[in-house]
């Protein structure tokens, strides 16, 4: 049975350390080559090799592919391939399969774990999921044994390639491209042989396949993940200095730039800690050399004192925060959007900074340029907020247009427009009149975190300090006044307006489109620049056209706690903004979930409670 689909989603579930991620990467490259669009979500434990056959060992990939551009990971899975019953059981907890989903379960471990298998099979029956149990063929088992137990991923890769009607030649090419340099000839051949055995096995033994059309992509199309796009964006923006400290999920930005930045006249400094990393970026920017530092949750906490310092000392600064699930160490390999308050309000005292966010890999590419423009024009810290999902999601995109950036004013209009920003005024007042770079004769000046007058002289006078605050805040207000209407989806009036920021864009757009198709009058709205928000009137004019205004956020909230975006919008507009999704499960937002919650919300009538957070 060949099932024709526009979009399909499947999962490969294995123990960490056995190459599920590699198999996923190879598959999406092959899909991209065949003209399909992909969206991938890696499920990775925070440890390198947790004990196999345990629930924490789950390492897998969710892949959504289609013949149209995909903006998010989607809702439900059509197919799961699991290497044993325990990782499958763990994943079933998330309840992301559709009612027709098929489960391919490798029975190889059943011999010694009969009871455990039986329980999970019962659970599958209860859930109404169809199971096809299989065993890796003896011939393939022997080859896997030769490889020291590795190579199962190649077998599964073969099976999935066959089920998704991929030509095996394309896959063999991809395997060679991936391992060709690393593996010796005979080992590479063994891997390819195992792949082929899996492919043949599925062709003969799996009674169905999925057919997703695709028109081969043009030469100008690339397959790229969020962190890589950010890395290339840093280079494109003319940033010459990167300093960081290893932290998941931001590290791969440092890996990319360590490889690439010297070829573009820059350098990468791996600092001794998060504080040293931001300190060095500040030092570089004080010297007039554009710099960026990059981190995730715990590192953001550590960097806070320097962030406040940079705003007071008026040293430009760019901080990339690839958000993960917090607080504290939290879930390093899961996604969340809960660093927003720490970015906006973090560091002590009144804080002035700009917070921009990225919704997809194209945003990732342009965000460093926007951040540099704002940081240098305002001499303030600028955040780029990404998250685990965006950092690791691959997408097929048209190679982004590039510009020759000599100074920040060379930023093209289309980039500013993408972030819903107009050009800043030509003259922006600084706390200190002189902002010359070292090396400029006659311009010698000292910066300090102490309060100073316009000449840069330290003082503790009431009026001077008040002025410093006013000038710093006015810089942020300039941005507020330069914000144009945020991106909108669906109807411009109706029952409900669904609002998000950062990586939630794709899911909101898809949910609103689906609701509209169903005849529900729904609108969507997405912020790329999250701080400052547009002026009150711009927002309330939009809000007042909908009966209900709600946020969807990957941050915790409950009826007694407003999640961050809801809180900010309420404060900004005094509007009765509610929240319909405030999840801290580590799972990305899903369109079907948003649509379902929106329908529920539309149906509800409230009495007098001032704020409503749906849990």
């Amino acid at each position: 049975m060949n099932i024709k689909r526009k979009i399909s989603r499947f999962e490969l579930l294995m123990d960490a350390g056995f190459g599920a991620q590699k198999a996923g990467d190879i598959l999406i490259s092959a899909f991209a080559k065949m003209g399909k669009y992909v969206y991938i979500e890696p499920m990775i434990p925070a440890e390198i090799s947790p004990p196999p056959r345990t629930r924490p060992a789950l390492s897998g990939v969710i892949i959504r592919l289609g013949d149209l551009d995909l903006t998010n990971i989607g809702n439900d899975t059509d197919l799961i391939l699991a290497s044993h019953e325990i990782v499958l059981d763990r994943r079933l907890d998330d309840g992301e399969t559709n009612e027709k989903a098929q489960v391919l379960l490798d029975m190889g471990d059943q011999k010694n774990n009969g009871e455990s298998y039986e329980q999970v099979l019962k659970r599958l029956t209860k859930m109404g999921l169809k199971v096809i149990s299989f065993e890796i063929t003896a011939e393939a088992q022997d080859a896997i044994k030769v490889l020291g137990g590795k190579g199962k991923n190649m077998y599964y890769l073969g099976m999935l390639s066959a089920i998704y009607n991929m030509p095996n030649t394309i896959l063999v090419e991809e395997i060679k491209a991936t391992f060709g340099k690393k593996l010796k000839g005979d080992i590479l051949d063994k891997n390819i042989a195992i792949f082929q055995l899996g492919y043949d096995f599925a062709k003969t033994n799996i009674p169905f396949s999925f057919d997703i059309q695709g028109v081969p992509h043009g030469k100008e199309q690339v397959l790229i993940d969020g962190n890589s796009a950010l890395s290339l964006g840093v280079i494109h923006a003319g940033i010459k200095f990167f300093s960081g400290y290893p932290i998941t999920p931001a590290s791969s930005i440092m890996h990319n730039l360590a490889r690439l930045l010297p070829s573009y006249g820059g350098m990468v400094h791996q600092a001794e800690d998060e504080i040293a990393a931001i300190g060095a970026a500040i030092g570089s920017y004080f010297g007039g050399v554009p710099a960026v530092t990059c981190t995730s949750g715990p590192g953001l906490s550590l960097k806070q004192e320097f962030i406040g310092y940079a705003s007071v000392a008026e040293i430009p600064l760019i901080v990339i925060d690839a958000q993960r699930s917090g607080p504290s160490t939290g879930m390093p390999t899961k996604t969340e959007q809960s660093d927003l308050p720490a970015a906006i309000f973090g560091s002590h005292g009144d804080n002035t900074k700009i917070v921009i966010s990225v919704a997809n890999v194209i945003d990732c590419f342009y965000a460093p340029l926007v951040a540099r423009y704002l940081a240098e024009r305002l001499r303030l810290p600028v955040f780029i907020m990404s998250d685990f999902q965006t950092a690791n999601s691959y997408k097929v995109i048209e190679k982004p247009k590039m510009a020759d950036i000599k100074t920040v004013d060379d930023i093209p209009d289309f980039v500013l427009e993408r972030f819903r920003l107009k050009r800043l005024p030509a003259k922006i007042e600084m706390v200190r009149d002189s902002q010359l770079n070292p090396g400029t004769p006659g311009g010698m000046r000292r910066v300090t975190g102490l309060n100073t007058d316009a000449q840069g002289k330290v003082n503790y006078f009431s009026a001077t300090n008040q002025r410093s605050h006013q000038v710093r805040n006015e810089k942020v207000h300039h941005v507020k006044r330069c914000l144009t209407e945020p991106e909108r989806f669906g109807g411009d009036s109706g029952e409900i307006l669904i609002i998000g920021w950062g990586s939630s864009r794709g899911s909101i757009e898809e949910a609103v489109n689906n609701l509209t198709k169903e005849g529900v009058k729904a609108g969507g709205m997405h912020f790329k620049i999250v701080h400052p928000l547009p002026e009150k009137k711009m927002l309330t004019d939009i809000f007042s056209k909908y009966k209900k205004v709600v946020t969807v956020e990957l941050a915790y909230g409950d009826p007694l706690k407003h999640p961050p975006l809801m809180m900010l919008l309420r404060d900004e507009t005094l509007f009765d903004v509610n929240c319909i999704i405030c999840r801290a499960t580590g799972r990305p937002l899903q369109p079907a979930n948003i649509a379902a919650k929106a329908r529920e919300e539309i149906a509800k009538t409230y009495e007098s409670h001032p704020s409503k957070v749906t849990v």
Partner: protein, 304 residues
Amino acid sequence: MSTTQQEPQKITIKDLQTENPRWCVGCGDFGIVMGLKRFMVDQQLPLENTVNVSGIGCSGRAPNYINTYGVHAIHGRPITVALGLALARPDLNVFIHSGDGDALSIGGNHLIHGINKNFNCVFIMYDNELYALTKSQTSPTTRIGHKTNTQPRGTYLEPLNPIRLALGIGASFVAGTADWMPDHFTTTLNAAFAHKGFSFVHVLQRCPHFDPHNFQHKETAWFSFLRHDKGIAPDKRVADKTEIIDHDPSNLEQAFKFANEKRKYFGLFYHDPAKPRYDDILIRQTKDTPQASLDTLFNDYRIE
């Protein structure tokens, strides 16, 4: 086009003034900043190419009182800012001002890695053996038994030994001097500046306000000078008043011996001009890497 060659103006102490320092009368920091200015005049260092970077504390204020570029950063972290500056702008002369609390307590981690990275700067450690700007608390170098506001029954532990610490981490240049010996201080800065790498200069600094009897700056019997033709000459004013020991600054073992003694030694403990420099390596790497064009930026991500 005719050009009029103008003789560059000679830099004088006056050119280096900014405002009257807000330190207590008799503070050793005056001597250190004046010594640095004398050194800059001796060397005729262009003001615009010099950056003084500091942390927090009385010493942290120093850059504000020297007319160069300056970064008065946050507590304990001047090394991090200075390193970013040294990497991005190797044309600048970088001086770091850091107190005993700043360098050894809150900023200890950065000191370890600054020394190990051996990037080019002169690190001046102002050691008054207590926290002064916050009004007399025990610091890592406070002598045992000394009463402070946080350890009022007397400081509990033996102090950290900054010279030994620097030697132990593998500093390429370790010297000791004092704020009240202007000649020795300036000579020390000359040697530290001539060394390309992380020059660790430990300075005993008086704090007449909170610990007036600590350093017997009028006495000389409690210290000796280390002397060598590759080292730092003893202070002219007091050279004949105390012991002078010949010490080869390439002798690390002997340097440790001096550092371990209770007695104080001023001069060049250790010097290794050959230690590799992190800044040099990174800058050279960028210089030696063939430059790519933006057109090739996405090459690794092409689909075909």
